[in-house]
């Protein structure tokens, strides 16, 4: 009987937990979608803060995507953010490792920790992205970060003192760069490569 009592909540809680996950979070991106009907640059910070959730702006010039995203789930240092359009962006400690829903998606990636980038360590990266015939293609890079200097960013009426670091990555027959603006130990803004067809995405943390 005691076991039954212990078990009953498992099913109920799991089901309820799921429904909560399904029920609440999508309403935030849906509300943000209404915000996005207006020019994203002109939305006041207060209005964004009113959602009561961290908000990031994701812009992918190559795909014409410019959306607000909020955290959907987190596992340790991995956080998945989602937009109303069904896109998701997954970061490991602020470094992009996955996208979904874009079409030319970054399916998975092996990336350095934000701390390694900030410290200027030479690292290796592997990208696995959607390519021809629906198969995933792998590209390996050797990356060297370099500090560009201090920069003050104005993000929705608030200024942030950051250190701009450019990570230059090389492979046989190609190279790419990622840009990070570190505020203290965390990434405030970044421009990170997604895939050959998507190009880079720009991610700006607006509300923490």
């Amino acid at each position: 009987m005691a076991l039954m009592r212990a078990v009953l909540p498992v099913v109920a809680v799991l089901a309820a937990g799921f429904l909560a996950a399904c029920g609440n979070l999508p309403s935030l991106p849906a509300a943000m979608d209404r915000v996005q009907q207006v020019n994203l640059d002109s939305v006041p910070r207060d209005k964004l803060r009113a959602f009561g959730s961290p908000i990031m702006r994701a812009t992918i010039p190559g795909l014409g995507i410019d959306v607000l995203i909020s955290p959907r789930d987190s596992k340790g240092d991995i956080v998945t953010w989602e937009a109303a359009d069904g896109y998701t962006f997954t970061f490991r400690d602020g470094v992009l490792i996955e996208t979904r829903g874009l079409g030319p998606d970054l399916m998975s990636a092996s990336v350095p920790a934000a701390g390694q980038i900030a410290s200027g360590a030479v690292t290796r990266r592997s990208y696995f992205y959607t390519w021809e015939n629906d198969a995933n293609q792998r590209r390996d890079y050797s990356c060297t970060p370099a500090t560009q200097g201090a920069e003050t960013l104005m993000i929705y009426g608030r200024s942030h003192s950051t250190r701009h670091i450019v990570e230059s990555c090389q492979r046989d027959g190609g190279r790419l760069t990622n840009d990070y603006w570190f505020e203290g130990g965390s990434i405030r803004k970044s421009k990170q490569w997604i895939s050959p067809l998507a190009g880079p995405g720009i991610f700006v943390r607006i509300i923490d």
């Binding site: 099913v11 799991l14 979904r100």
Partner: protein, 708 residues
């Protein structure tokens, strides 16, 4: 322009940029014959592997529409429809050339082989056979070489026989048999190949910038019949000049001065089935994999007592059902023990097995209590469980965000025979009976370029698992087909050649109304019995048995049918009073790399006995192109024009065009001529294609989508 359109436009531009290698190279452009070439002459190049090109060109009253498929990196095949106007205008009545046509239509096939790839010093070299099984009017053979200099300039030179050896020949290789109009055509004209006069041709191309190219060529085609005998146009010069404009990645438009007398144009569209218009799969991101509490933190969560709890199963099913509904997946069966769940799913939306399986696994990870470690997912197609994918939940959790997780997960899952569903189990209440329907635009061809367009209504009513009543209606809306000009009496029973009469009879047609029963009688065996109006021309009963182990490249099938030919109005059987037992044994083999071979041996609708050989190439996104030929004991005379049945077949899935996950596809067969020899019943829902989507070949090629 809405957001999606902007995205697509932007993506096309991005694709273009990304497609340009570090050193730009000139892609092959296509000739008036729709093969890699200069203007009217072929070049030595091949298109990118897998490419499909559609070309329409016109000059001097001659239209040519060509579909070319780069079957392998070196081999390409083409199907061409040519239509020449003013055919008899300059012919005096009673002239032997007066064949009564006002417009001469012809269909032909080409085959090209790239024998040498371009290197630093050597050109690319192609050997081509043009119209190699036709009546011979357009027949030509050639060896063409093309060398590029830098990334903007290309030179082509070649030698041609047949049509391409008809102007200023430099010698002759024996005697070329004359083109004989009365010939039935259709057989490889081997005795013509590379025989008779041989003449040189040449051309140059200069790519001015990314969009504009100018071309010039010297043609070795004298247009003996069209220009000489029939005087349809005046060939004043062997030189052609043109300018072409590349629009986006797909389309190329050209305007030309042809043979010193005519203006010509050419529209080329080249598609790469390996690439999607959207650059990948659109559609919403999947839900996150559920995270169980660690066993040490919450040992109670891992208890199995919930299995005996009243109502637990129903709660789980309802929740799971709700999660899966977002992806168009329904539960055919759900049963479980404390550590294992067996889920049978029906996937009506996602066009890729691995993606559907991945989504189902994610849903299970969100819903099943923590003690459940093993997920068995069985895709069900037409009521039959077709394979079983066994995934460990801890693998799913551990690999969700790990690099290269598709390959790692593939090495850890087991894909096996579905086996029977465990006794008991729950299913979605709404599953049976199940009614679905759809209306789509459709095309009904009675002859080449003649037919009607209309709407097709398809509906199906599933009475229970594996038992489906379905039908298909067609209503024509507009037609350009008045009379059966090219219908010729057949020496065989008119089991196919009378189709045009059926179409002319009525704008409305009940194409299909049938009851089908699918079952899985034993391990690796699948069965089908279909009864009713099976297709527009025939009704009866069709039975089929297929042996196809999940991990086998080989499948064997047998089909036995008895049908009677329907009246032209669709309902009686008195008009033809023709009944026949037909049947085939079939072997299917997955050759790897997307190539599929098939041999069917048996008796065909007209009572002829023989075999069909088919080779298809299938891409991960479902685009499929192939060729087939049927040889039966019906003689060439009995068969009529074309001598035997052969053609190209094309399948394009909706999702390739739309980008969104969407099942459903468009298929068509291009034949030189639809005759009665080698004709098979057109059955909806044959077994091999039904079960294959979830077997190893396709599951592996699409496995990259399991985390999508």
């Amino acid at each position: 322009m809405n957001r999606r359109n902007i995205r697509w436009a932007a993506l096309s531009a991005a694709a273009l940029v990304a497609a340009s290698p570090a050193i730009a190279e000139m892609r092959p452009s296509l000739s008036f014959y729709g093969v890699p070439g200069v203007i009217d002459m072929p070049s030595g190049e091949a298109m990118k592997d897998g490419s499909v090109a559609l070309t329409t060109s016109y000059f001097g009253s001659q239209f040519r529409t060509t579909l070319t498929f780069q079957i392998t990196p070196r081999i390409s095949g083409s199907y061409r429809f040519t239509s020449t106007g003013n055919w008899n205008d300059a012919i005096a009545p009673g002239d032997p050339l007066d064949d009564g046509y006002t417009r001469y239509n012809d269909r032909s096939f080409d085959l090209r082989i790239l024998v040498l790839e371009e290197g630093n010093y050597l050109p690319s070299v192609t050997v081509g056979l043009q119209d190699f099984v036709g009546t011979g009017k357009n027949s030509a053979e050639y060896i063409a070489a093309t060398k590029s200099f830098g990334d903007r300039f290309k030179v082509t030179a070649g030698l041609g026989w047949g049509r391409f050896g008809s102007y200023n020949d430099i010698g002759s290789f024996g005697e070329r048999p004359p083109v004989y109009d009365g010939d039935l055509g259709g057989n490889p004209s081997v005795d013509h190949w590379f025989r008779g006069p041989v003449a040189p041709f040449a051309g140059v191309e200069w790519q001015v910038n990314d969009k504009w190219t100018v071309k010039a060529e010297y043609s070795s085609d004298a247009y003996d019949e069209v220009s000489g005998d029939r005087r349809i146009f005046d060939r004043r010069s062997p030189f052609n000049f043109g300018v072409e404009y590349q629009r986006g990645d797909v389309m190329r438009l050209g305007l030309y001065s042809m043979y010193g007398a005519e203006i010509g144009f050419n529209i080329q569209m080249v598609m790469d089935p390996k690439r999607r218009a959207a650059g990948g799969i659109l559609g919403p991101a999947p839900i996150a994999v559920g995270q169980r509490p660690s066993r040490s933190a919450d040992p109670g969560a891992y208890g199995g007592g919930w299995t005996t709890q009243a109502g637990a199963g129903e709660t789980l099913r309802a929740t799971l059902s709700q999660v899966l509904a977002a992806d168009g997946i329904t539960i055919e069966h759900l049963s479980y023990t404390a550590d294992k769940v067996h889920l049978r799913i029906r996937n009506d939306q996602i066009d890729s097995g691995p993606q559907a399986i991945g989504r189902a696994a994610r849903a299970l990870s969100r819903v099943m209590p923590a003690s459940v470690e093993v997920f068995e997912i069985v895709p069900v197609v037409r009521g039959m469980g077709v394979s079983k994918v066994t995934i460990r939940r801890s693998d799913l959790e551990g690999l969700e965000h790990s690099p290269g997780n598709d390959a790692t997960l593939r090495s850890r899952v087991r894909i096996s025979e579905a086996g029977p569903a465990p006794a008991g189990g729950l299913r979605d209440d709404s599953l049976y009976p199940r009614f679905s329907w759809g209306v789509m635009p459709a095309l009904r061809m009675s002859e080449v370029m003649r037919g009607d367009v209309g709407l097709r209504l398809e509906a199906s009513y599933e009475l229970r698992q594996g038992l489906v009543l379905s039908g298909s209606l067609y209503q024509a809306l507009a037609s350009n087909f008045d009379d059966c000009e090219r219908c010729k009496p057949s020496l065989l029973p008119p089991v196919r050649s009378d189709l045009a009469y059926y179409n002319r009879e009525s704008d409305f047609g009940l194409n299909r109304l049938q009851l089908a029963w699918y079952a899985k009688p034993a391990e690796n065996l699948y069965s089908r019995v279909t009864f009713g109006f099976l297709e527009r021309m025939h009704a009866g009963i069709s039975t089929e048995l297929l042996w196809k182990p999940v991990d086998s490249r080989l499948a064997l099938g047998a089909e036995l049918n008895y049908t009677r030919q329907r009246d032209r109005d669709g309902f009686g059987f008195g008009e033809y009073d023709y009944g026949i037992a037909t049947g085939h044994v079939s072997a299917y083999y997955d050759l790897g790399g997307g190539y599929l071979g098939q041999v069917d041996v048996g008796r065909y609708l007209a009572g002829d006995v023989g075999a069909t050989f088919a080779l298809d190439r299938e891409f991960a996104n479902g685009v499929r192109l192939g060729a087939y030929a049927t040889f039966t004991d019906a003689s060439a005379e009995e068969f009529g024009e074309g001598s035997f049945d052969k053609g190209l077949r094309i399948t394009i899935p909706m999702n390739w065009l739309l980008g969104q996950p969407q099942r459903g596809e468009f298929s068509t067969t291009l034949r030189a001529m639809q005759r009665d020899g080698g004709a098979r019943l057109e059955i909806d829902g044959r077994l091999y294609e039904s079960v294959r989507d979830y077997h190893l070949g396709i599951l592996d090629t699409q496995w990259g989508r399991v985390w999508r």
